[in-house]
Structures are given as C-alpha cells and as structure tokens.
C-alpha cells in the first residue's frame, strides 16, 4: 500500500472525526446505554477505520460503518469480560439483540440521538456547572483542558464534574430521551439557559484580562444553530438571534487597547452586517410564530439598536415598550434596570434615575456594579457630579474585571476634569 493512500485515508478519517464524531457518539450512547463505553467504542472505531479503509477502501456510508464497528467492538469487549464477570453476559446479549431494529433507519434516528444527548447533558438533576461541562464535552467535543481554560478552573475540577455527572446519569438512571411534550417547555428552557450561559461566559468573561473568549461564544452560537435545526422552537430562534446580534458588535465593543466601548460610542461600521441580517430575520420568524418569549424579546431590543446607523436615531419609545413586554414575560430587577435606562433615553435622565433609585430602595441590585454605573451616568448627565462620583466609586468596588474597571476609572477621571 502506498504512503499516499495511507495519508489520504488519514485525512478523510480526520475530516469524518471533526464533522461526525459527535453524531456517532450520540448514537453509540443510545445503543450502548453508557457514556464511557460509547466514548471508548467511538475511539476504537476510528482507530480501526484508518487500518481497514486503507486496506479495503472507503465504505459507502462512513458514519454508519463507524457506528456499527464501534458497537460490535463494545459488545466484543463486554463478551471478553464475561469470562470474569458472568453478569455481563446478559448485557451483551441484550445489546446484540437490539442491533437489527436499530439499524433499520439510521439516518432518521441520528438527529434524535443528538437531541437526546443535549437534553440528557442539560438534565435538571445535574448541577448547572455539570450541565455546562457535559454539554461542552459531549455535545461540542471540547476537551477537559479546553473547558477548564475557558471557565478559569483547573482541568481536574472539570474532569471530576464530568465523572460525577456521568455517574449520576448512570446510577439515578437519567433517561436518554427527548422529554415528553408536557415536560418539553421546561426542559427546553434549561437547554437554552446552558447555551446562553456558555455564550455569556465567552462574551464577557467573569474575571481576568480578556473580555471576550471568542471560542466559547462561537461554540454557543454553533450549539444554538444545532438546537434550532433539531427543534425549531420560537425561543430557540430568539436565543440564536440574540447571540448573533450581540456577537455582531464584537469588533466594535473593545478598543485596540482592550477597553470597553459603550453601544452609543461604537463605530457601527465595524458591526458584522451578515450576523445582524441573520439575527433580524430570525426575530421576524420567531415573532411570526406568536409564541414570543424572553429571548426573542431581548433579541428584538438588540435588533432595534442594530438597525440604526447612528445612536441619535434610536427608537427609544419602541425599546421601552419591548422592555414593558419583557417585564411581563420574565420580570427581574436587571430587566427593570435596563428599562430604566431606556426610559431615561426617552423621557430624560431624571425619569430614569427615579426608577433606579426605586430598585435600590427595595434592596435589589445593590451589589450589581452596572446598576451603580448606570446611576452614575444619569447623575452626570444631570450635572450632579458628587453623586455621580460616589456611584462610580461604588461600581468600581463591585467589579474585578480589568477592562470594566478601566472603563469606570476613565469615567471617574472624566468627572474630575468636569469640575
């Protein structure tokens, strides 16, 4: 066999691994009923592929070949171990007996398997950290090291989270199923929450030097697309739109020196028009479904900003009314704060300030730096410099993130010049 053929096969196997390994894994988990066994089988199947495809040629359907090879290998392995543990014999027979019905419609079930994998990784019986780690590891194929780096934790911590989650899935028998229709809305919310969490972690790192960890956001957008493809729900569209619209401003959001730039000061020519167009189209589709949820509303607010070429042209009355809608769909102090800022833009800073003070008076958001920063900005516009200064200082004491601290320090310095 020529060196050339071998290289070609290796290249093909690499490509198939990149594009298909997660799909194959999802199916193997269903067939074998175990995450670890499936992963082992996956890697064995790919190892055998290099050897066998070089010798016998590429199979017609590499994915199906890999699924059945992985499965037979796993059953072989269990059979070999039955010599030491008789209880495994039953398992091997059980796994073998399912082979014929499972292979009848491989193309149809493969999408379902990917959805099953997503829902199992985001099962509410797992902690939120475990849901995120499992999703990135199993659905996206990130390594433990990559996940640890992205979340600024140690690889052993992430590995332990994954091991515990897998043990819980096995021992508490968390099903490998797309939830029933009655449970679906709640369970889908959990999946959307995990995806948005991954996106936000990438978009605004919770601490450290770098404000954006692009890979995580890109991964979340990929996940959002996958989910929408598998389950075209209005809120899945809304979330994807929201992520695309935020991400479209990435280049404009941070200066060359790594400083944060506010929406109104951003160079709008740097915004990614393709992402905006895609996001806006998705919002239209989601609204047309008449099942509008919080992600779609937030996306619509973001979309209003994306579509004007100059901040002075922003349609603040429309944005305030979308916030009113959001307060009905998913009320929270943070939504209230954002609404207050929009009201300030529509009716003037005094109106906005009254709303923020009312939130503080209730005892909400007192530890949220953005609330103090928003208050400072409104005070500054009203010429109440001493109050603005105090609020910026309060905000500074509440954030560890370096670019955001620099931003607040600059604002504070700007006030001093003012005097």
């Amino acid at each position: 066999m020529s060196e050339d053929t071998l290289n070609k096969v290796r290249e093909l196997v690499d490509t198939v691994y990149r594009t298909e390994s997660r799909r194959i894994l999802a199916t193997l988990i269903r067939l074998l009923g175990d995450f670890d066994a499936a992963e082992e089988a996956l890697h064995e199947a790919f190892a055998i592929a290099v050897e066998q495809w070089t010798r016998d040629g590429i199979p017609n359907n590499p994915r199906a070949w890999l699924v059945s090879t992985g499965r037979f290998k796993a059953i072989d392995g269990i059979r070999r171990r039955t010599r030491f543990d008789a209880s495994l014999a039953e398992l091997a027979t059980q796994l073998e007996s399912g082979i014929h019905d499972a292979q009848e419609n491989p193309a149809e079930s493969i999408d379902d398997d990917r959805l099953r994998l997503i829902f199992t990784c985001c099962h509410p019986a797992l902690s939120p950290e475990a849901q995120v780690a499992m999703t990135l590891r199993e659905v996206c194929g990130l390594t433990t090291e990559e996940i640890a780096k992205a979340f600024l934790t140690s690889p052993p911590t992430v590995a332990q989270r994954i091991v515990r989650a897998k043990a819980k899935i096995r021992k508490a028998r968390i099903p490998y199923e797309v939830p029933s229709e009655t449970a679906l809305p709640d369970r889908l919310d959990a999946v959307l929450r995990v995806i948005y969490l991954v996106f936000n972690e990438g978009y605004s790192a919770s601490s450290g030097e770098s404000l954006t960890r692009r890979d995580l956001s890109a991964e979340a957008i990929r996940l959002g697309r996958l989910l929408m493809e598998l389950l075209p729900d209005a809120e899945a569209m809304g979330l994807l739109a929201l992520m695309l619209l935020h991400d479209s401003r990435r280049a404009a959001r941070i200066s060359r020196t790594g400083d944060l730039i506010l929406l109104e000061d951003q160079d709008r020519s740097l915004w990614n028009r393709d992402q905006i167009a895609e996001g806006v189209a998705l919002i239209g589709k989601a609204f047309a479904s008449r099942q509008i949820g919080p992600y779609t509303i937030q996306a619509a607010i973001s979309g209003f900003h994306s579509q004007v070429t100059h901040p002075t042209a922003t349609d603040w009355p429309q944005i305030v009314s979308l916030y009113d809608l959001l307060m009905q769909a998913s009320p929270s102090p943070v939504v209230e704060l954002n609404r207050a800022v929009a009201v300030a833009m529509r009716d003037g800073p005094l109106a906005g300030l009254a709303l923020i003070d009312a939130i503080f008076a209730r005892g909400d958001l007192t530890n949220y730096y953005l609330a103090h920063s928003a208050k400072a900005e409104l005070c500054r516009r009203l010429g109440r410099i001493a109050e603005a200064k105090a609020a910026y200082q309060q905000a500074l004491s509440l954030t560890q993130q370096k670019p955001e601290r620099r931003f607040l320090e600059q604002r504070l310095a700007g006030l001093q010049d003012h005097k």
Binding site: A172, I174, P175, E177
Partner: protein
C-alpha cells in the same frame, strides 16, 4: 429500577395545619399508592411519627450509644416515604410531583442500589 421518595416537611407548620387538611393529604397519599399499585409501581409507603419520637443509635468501639434526636439544623424533617418502581429518573420525578407532601415540603428522589442476597419480597 427502584427509587425511594423521601418526603420532608416542616413539622411545626404541619402541626398547625387544620385536622381536615391533614386528613385530606393522607387520603391523597393513600390514593396515590393505589394508583401506583395498579401500574405495578408500588412497593411500600408510610408516614412517620414526628422526629421528636426518634432515637439515634450509634455503635462506637462495640458500645451502643442511644440518644434522642435527630439534632438537625434544617427546619424540614423526614415525614414519610414511598418506595416505588420506575423505569428511569424522569418517571420517578413524575411520581414525586404527585406526592401531596411535595406541596408543603420537598421530596428527595434516591435511586436504590440493587444488591443480591436479600430475602425475597412478596412484591
């Protein structure tokens, strides 16, 4: 697969509830056991006397230590249990949400480890 549903609630709050409400809850619980039984999912269930009736037994260096208790900081105490059969966790959770105690307290869902060598049960 077997799951144990441990029903916890605040005993003080429970004791302050009206006699009728408590009776209603008990009736609903009994009703649930019959529903489960019809589907072959019922193994056993029972309410428990208040935690004040409990004793704690420990054996240290072969010496039994019997004390009152439990001295648990949490307000919620174990109030009863259901031992059920379910195919998977989602099915077990689906049963747990029907437990009347879940409305005033919480239900902890625990998978059982299946071991061999136990006396055979009649169910």
């Amino acid at each position: 697969m077997k799951f144990l549903l441990l029903v916890h609630h605040d005993e003080n709050a429970f004791s302050k509830m009206s006699e009728t409400t408590r009776k209603e809850m008990l009736e609903k619980s009994v009703h649930l056991t019959h529903q489960l039984h019809n589907k072959g999912q019922y193994l056993s269930a029972s309410p428990l006397h208040p935690a004040s009736t409990a004793v704690i037994v420990r054996v240290r260096e072969d010496k039994p230590l019997v004390t009152d208790g439990p001295f648990i900081e949490t307000r919620e105490q174990l109030a009863g249990y259901f031992l059920i059969n379910a195919n998977d966790l989602d099915e077990a959770v689906g049963i747990a949400v029907q437990v009347p105690g879940a409305r005033i307290g919480s239900v902890e869902v625990r998978p059982l480890i299946e071991i061999s060598g136990l006396p055979t049960e009649k169910c």
